[in-house]
């Protein structure tokens, strides 16, 4: 059995770094606030959400049909369509295409699917130089870390961290931590790599069955460089990315960047339909556990995700602990419900790395029942006997108490007394990492039940 990732310990490491937690919290919450403003400017937002959710549900309940339709229309446009059951197959297909073109170096834009497949190390081991072209991804690549956020991969780093990193890796002045200077230095460093690359790789935000093309949304335009400068473009596409028609894009494009950053659209919304003049285009349709998830009545809705990151930006646990604390490809609430599907034993602790406040479900543009799924994953973990010792002890006491009303009511009163009178170390004991860095709220003078009895009995 795989050793589980311990998100509480990892988050504690992040919180212990000076300034990081507060800056991260401020930046990520700022994205959530920008999202709210952008959404307020679209009065039909709730209708868009409903349509987006239904389009995705329709596609997923007819996925075989749309996959075949996509393949047919893409092939007609002279796009080479490949299929891969899992990460290994995906990487092998990509390598074969690169190898056939004698590719020595490639530039890639952000693709969570390629992260999921561990593609970069696979290709590097086979002698191919891989350069991330998105600034945040490049920062993470140079740090030898995975992205901590699906939209802004290096958001957990301070400008001084980036200055130190660039000084070491690309020879900038370590004392100059002005973000403008740092971004410019990377632009200058990256450009020659873009020009010498033999191939460009991208992911896809949407694949359109009707038209046989796909859409990539970026703010930097880096996907467009990868697709338009080197002669070969390969895109990795998860099978859940399909939508039926070109005009469905209107709904999703209107929602994606508003949910992510609060802008009406990403700076570049790029559509690829067949190879560019003088170029060659390949797409790899990847399953990698998606068809299994499709068969799970509790969890298939997670396949509707458009990777906007809104659920992360709003999550109190993500904001404080940072994305790397999840120790997985996907972090935040969406990570909590995706990661256990890849490796339940390894990610068994993640469903507990949540306060179940439900804010993620409220902001999700495609109406995924994220918080309900987090709760259901807890039940799966418990049913498989994978609960940690501390949780088993706590939960069995809790279970007995909740199952026994008189005991619960006296526990309530005792709890109230305890909150006021017990020394802090009993509440903040090592079995309860959730107590760290957190103070309990002031105790109300009455329990809810006491209030209810008093007020309801009054005529």
């Amino acid at each position: 059995m795989t050793r589980p990732v311990d998100p509480e310990r990892r988050a504690a490491g992040f919180i212990a770094l000076e300034l990081h937690e507060s800056t991260h919290d401020r930046l990520v919450w700022g994205m959530r606030q920008n999202r709210d403003k952008a959404v307020a400017g679209v009065p039909e937002w709730e209708e868009l959400r409903e349509m987006a959710s239904r389009i995705k549900e329709h596609t997923l309940t007819h996925l075989d049909h749309y996959l075949e339709q996509f393949e047919k229309s893409a092939t007609k446009l002279r796009t080479h369509v490949h299929w891969a059951r899992d990460a290994e197959e995906h990487n092998a297909v990509v390598y074969d295409v690169l190898n056939a073109h004698r590719v020595k170096s490639l530039i890639k834009s952000k693709s969570m699917l390629q992260e999921e497949c561990g593609m970069t190390p696979y290709l590097q081991q086979r002698g191919i130089e891989v350069t991330e072209s998105d600034l945040g991804e490049r920062i993470q690549q140079l740090s030898d870390e995975p992205p901590s956020h699906i939209v802004v991969p290096a958001i957990h780093k301070l400008r001084t961290d980036v200055a130190a990193l660039f000084a070491e890796k690309i020879g900038t002045d370590p004392k100059d931590s002005d973000p403008h200077a740092l971004a410019e230095a990377m632009r200058q460093n990256a450009r020659p790599r873009f020009l010498k690359a033999d191939a460009g790789m991208t992911g896809a935000n949407f694949a359109v069955a009707e038209t046989g093309g796909f859409v990539v949304c970026t703010n930097e335009g880096n996907a467009d460089i990868g697709a338009s400068v080197p002669p070969l473009h390969i895109a990795s596409i998860g099978i859940e990315k399909l939508i039926p028609r070109g005009r469905d894009l209107g709904i999703f494009i209107r929602m994606l960047s508003r949910s992510a950053l609060g802008t009406p659209i990403t700076q570049y919304t790029s559509h690829f339909h067949g190879p560019r003049r003088g170029g060659e285009l390949h797409v790899v349709l990847v399953d990698n556990t998606r068809s299994d998830r499709l068969g799970s009545p509790d969890f298939w809705h997670a396949l509707k995700c458009i990777r906007c990151g809104a659920c992360m930006n709003t999550c109190p646990v993500y904001r404080r602990g940072g994305g790397l604390s999840y120790g997985a490809t996907y972090s935040g609430p969406i990570g909590v419900i995706l990661d256990p599907g890849f490796d339940l034993s390894k990610y068994r602790e993640l469903p507990f790395h949540s306060s179940l406040c439900g804010s993620c479900t409220d902001v999700c543009p495609v109406k995924i029942d994220i918080s309900d799924q987090i709760y259901k994953w807890r039940r799966v973990v418990a049913a498989k006997g994978l609960l940690s010792f501390a949780k088993r002890v706590g939960m069995s006491a809790l279970g007995k108490t909740l199952a026994h009303p008189p005991l619960y009511h006296s526990a309530e009163a005792v709890g109230e007394w305890a909150l006021e009178h017990l020394p802090r170390f009993l509440l903040y004991n090592p079995l309860n990492p959730w107590g760290k860095h957190r103070e309990l709220p002031a105790v109300p003078r009455q329990t809810f039940r006491q209030w209810y009895i008093e007020n309801r009995r009054k005529p």
């Binding site: 868009l48 997923l60 059951r85 945040g136 973000p179 930097e220 209107g250 802008t263 659209i265 067949g274």
Partner: protein, 226 residues
């Protein structure tokens, strides 16, 4: 079994039930929609929406405002000569101006460029967009206009000519008007290349163009009074 067959049969076996019908989405006819999903219809319904445009504001100022919010800028120019003068005024130090339009010839014709790598030294790229989208502050560009797609991303600065009459309201309207499969590449460009990857500080000119300037000018043929 091939990976293709294996995936398709796994998907078929696991299709969630019941099947969900495909909803109608808004288009220019707005068929089957209770009310149009355009900002004007809604604003007449909802008197006070923070951040939303003024219901009586015509499309063009709305487009220009949104473009500016995305980091772009726009100018009205009277004719081709004024467009040339504007480019010269905005980019006095430009050595290489690579153009895909007849109004502003520049120093290099994109039609003469064979390989995208030849665009590495371009200071200013000039191209015409057939469509602008007001709500997004975006212009639509395809391989038909760019000729060499990399012109849009390798140029240090990008100038886009746009017919002010070719601006539509929402992304729904835009998708109704374009034929996606007809061009290998099509991009909605909203402002210049941007990043917020270092502490969320917005920086223009991340990897693609450092600036985006839209010159509002109808194509020569359209200016014909007939």
């Amino acid at each position: 079994m091939s990976p293709r067959e294996a995936i398709l049969s796994a998907v078929r076996k696991n299709l969630p039930r019941p099947a969900v019908p495909l909803p109608e989405v808004p288009g220019s006819e707005r068929k089957g929609i209770k009310h149009g999903l355009g900002y004007k219809e809604h604003l007449t319904r909802l008197p006070e929406v923070p951040g939303a445009p003024d219901v009586n504001e015509p499309l063009l100022p709305y487009f220009r405002r949104q473009l500016e919010a995305m980091g772009g800028r726009s100018f009205e120019v009277a004719d081709a000569a004024a467009a040339r003068a504007k480019v010269a005024e905005l980019f006095p130090d430009a050595n290489v101006v690579c153009s895909a339009v007849s109004e502003v010839p520049g120093t290099r014709r994109i039609q003469d460029v064979r390989d995208p790598h030849e665009l590495n030294d371009v200071d200013v790229g000039v191209v015409r967009s057939p469509l602008g989208v007001a709500e997004a502050g975006a212009v639509w560009l395809t391989q038909a206009e760019l000729v060499v797609n990399a012109l849009g991303v390798l140029s240090q600065h990008l100038v886009v000519l746009l017919d002010p009459a070719a601006v539509v309201e929402t992304m729904h309207d835009a998708y109704e008007r374009i034929d996606l499969a007809s061009s290998p590449y099509g991009v909605f460009l909203a402002g210049p290349s941007a990043t917020g990857d270092i502490e969320g500080v917005i920086i223009h000119g991340a990897q693609g163009a450092r600036s985006l300037t839209v010159l509002l000018l109808a194509p020569a043929a359209r200016k014909d009074p007939r």
